[in-house]
């Protein structure tokens, strides 16, 4: 490329950046000065999750392992691939399995199911590693106590997201894993029909906590893992838990900033 070409191209780029449209989107000049770099973060709602400056030690990969960031990225991957899967999947027992099988053969983006499944496994893994790191650097200590609590809730939601998704392929692995998991609810003290104290809840002689009314029944919408359970898990998996998780992530990220950025020695 000759020098004049270069000048011309730069000229075009510069011209583009002077248009009303460009300036309406990016409200700062090219981020090569301190001021514009600060503005690049401040005037962008996504980048604005970050502060403008951070401690140098907090930048080091060997300190944070970027595990929280990776977890968040995997959550985004799950959202995108999950939406694509939703186009091809119907949460009814006589269709679900076939939908999944057809996906393999007919979907142009045939890898979406793999990405979604392995991404989900990976997210459970990275959220554990993230917690491990936060513990080992003592980052839950004041002033970050509350953000640790938010984190524990996020950990729980990540596991529940994964668990509810486990049922959706409606194959043997799915229903039996969920059967084993939800059998625990049967043994819940007082509100599970096989739990200690369940017989305490009586109306005259009629037990209130039975197979047809205990904690497991409410979770599954039936006495066993059937069509109501599939619908319930689908709604929880695709709508309810993600919405709660996104909300808590917003709190989590906001609090990182408000608590003074990534932790470091006092």
């Amino acid at each position: 490329m000759s020098d004049s070409d270069k000048a011309k191209r730069e000229g075009m780029f510069q011209k583009l950046r002077k248009t009303q449209f460009w300036r309406s989107v990016f409200r700062h000049g090219y981020p090569d000065t301190q001021r514009n770099r600060a503005l690049a973060v401040l005037s962008n709602v996504f980048l604005h999750l970050h502060p403008v400056r951070i401690r140098k030690s907090g930048l080091a990969l060997s300190f944070t392992w970027c595990m929280g960031g990776v977890t968040f990225f995997l959550f985004l991957v799950e959202t995108v691939t999950g939406i694509l899967l939703m186009f091809y999947y119907k949460p009814v027992t006589y269709e679900a399995y076939n939908n999944i099988q057809e996906m393999k053969e007919t979907l142009p983006l045939g890898m979406m199911r793999e990405m979604h499944r392995w991404g989900a496994h990976a997210m459970v893994l990275t959220v554990w590693l993230h917690m491990f790191r936060v513990f080992m650097t003592g980052s839950y200590k004041p002033p970050r106590e509350f953000n640790w609590v938010v984190g524990v809730l996020l950990l729980l939601l990540t596991l529940l997201l994964s668990f509810t998704g486990y049922l959706l392929p409606w194959d043997q692995l799915a229903i039996w894993a969920v059967t084993v998991g939800s059998n625990m609810a049967r043994a819940h003290p007082v509100i599970g029909h096989e739990g200690p104290g369940a017989s305490l809840l009586m109306l005259d002689d009629i037990p209130l906590v039975t197979v047809g009314s205990d904690a497991r029944f409410i979770l599954l919408g039936g006495r066993f893992v059937g069509e109501n359970a599939l619908l319930r898990f689908y709604v929880l998996h695709c709508v309810f838990i993600p919405v709660v998780a996104i909300t808590l992530m917003a709190v989590h990220f906001w609090r990182i900033r408000k608590d003074g950025g990534i932790s470091g020695p006092l």
Partner: protein, 363 residues
């Protein structure tokens, strides 16, 4: 004659029995925490790492081992083991360096550039972007390389054997061997979640905030690592790789034979007391029958805290106020309830300490 078949296979099948593996792992962790400054030296840790990899690759020559390890859905657990070992090393290595600096009155490495800050754009955004690309690449390779499994269509009539919960809950399923579902499936998980949330409020030690260290937080880190690595991750590993048909134990080189006969000889504390020691029949009344077990449980939660406060946990007792200390001790006792029952099972075939099936109340 073949060293692998005659020596390594039986030895590994023996060493991985839960009653050997769990104490062995706990002992190794204790040793690592005791000698962390030596063990984490790159040469030693690297040697251990290479030995692990060689053992792993060598074991892949066994057909059964290969089958369960390389099962598509088990890959995350292999990754879990590898990444935890690596990151444990990283934490302890950095802790060793920092602790040595602290002893020489130098600040931890994280504090060297204490006042120095960098701009988020471009420094942080760039490194986040690189992480993002790396993760995308890995996930793409994983997804192209390993198709997502799909088994036979769901059927309520055909129960697979073994039926396993998703891998991240297998620790709880493994606890079911020792405790009834109301404890292993409800009380323990709720305690784990609640216990994790209380950590910042019960750990009042102001040191060790924002840098890697072990010396400054020995108690907190040890409890966390035992809980996380032994009583959570190791149980998941056992549940995934070593539990086969009927949730029986199978060594890594053993085929999962659904007809494996395991003698059931577990007995309750009440039977040990009344039948074996007193040579009488079990009393009809449950309160009389189970009085010893009930006393043991009460003593565990009421008297053990007093003893611990005077001995092992003296330091904590002095530093914490009453409420915090009570919470710490209850969480600790609940956590220790698991290894205690495990030992009872392995040493005395103990089934239940308290057995009141009348109320589904078994401990």
């Amino acid at each position: 004659m073949n060293i692998f078949d005659d020596f390594i296979v039986p030895l590994s099948n023996f060493l991985t029995r839960p009653e050997i593996l769990v104490p062995l792992a706990a002992l190794s962790l204790a040793l690592v925490l005791r000698f962390y400054r030596t063990v984490t030296k790159p040469k030693i840790a690297g040697g251990i790492g290479i030995a692990f990899v060689l053992l792993f690759v060598g074991s892949l020559s066994d057909a059964h081992f290969k089958e369960i390890i390389l099962k598509a859905d088990n890959l995350p657990i292999v990754l879990l083991i590898a990444s935890l070992l690596f990151f444990l090393w990283l934490c302890l290595r950095r802790a060793a360096i920092n602790d040595e600096r602290l002893e020489r009155d130098l600040p931890p490495i994280e504090a060297v550039h204490k006042r120095q800050t960098v701009l988020v754009w471009p420094d942080l955004v760039m490194s986040e972007f690189i992480c993002l690309l790396a993760v995308s690449a890995l996930l793409t390779v994983w997804s192209v390389g390993i198709p997502a499994p799909l088994e036979e269509p769901a059927s309520a009539a055909l129960t697979p054997n073994p039926s396993k919960a998703p891998w991240y809950f297998l620790g709880l399923q493994e606890m079911l061997v020792y405790y009834d579902p109301w404890l292993a499936g409800v009380v323990f998980p709720l305690t784990i979640v609640a216990g994790l949330m209380t950590i910042p409020y019960i750990d009042t030690n102001p040191r060790g905030n924002g840098y890697y260290t072990l010396k400054d937080r020995k108690f907190a880190i040890s409890v966390f690592l035992f809980g996380f690595l032994i009583f959570w991750v190791l149980l998941i590993v056992i549940g995934t790789f070593l539990r086969g048909a009927n949730w029986n134990f199978f060594g890594p080189f053993e085929v999962w034979d659904p007809h494996k006969a395991v003698p059931l000889m577990n007995i309750n504390l009440s039977e040990i007391f009344w039948v074996k020691m007193m040579n009488t029949r079990l009393p009809e009344n449950w309160l009389q029958r189970e009085f010893l077990g009930i006393l043991v449980v009460l003593a565990y939660f009421l008297i053990a805290p007093l003893l611990l406060a005077k001995t092992v946990l003296k330091e904590q007792f002095q530093k914490l106020d009453f409420v915090r200390f009570s919470i710490v001790i209850m969480l600790l006792l609940l956590m220790l309830a698991l290894p205690i029952k495990m030992l009872g099972r392995w040493m005395f075939n103990l089934k239940y300490i308290v057995y009141i099936p009348e109320f589904f109340f078994n401990i």
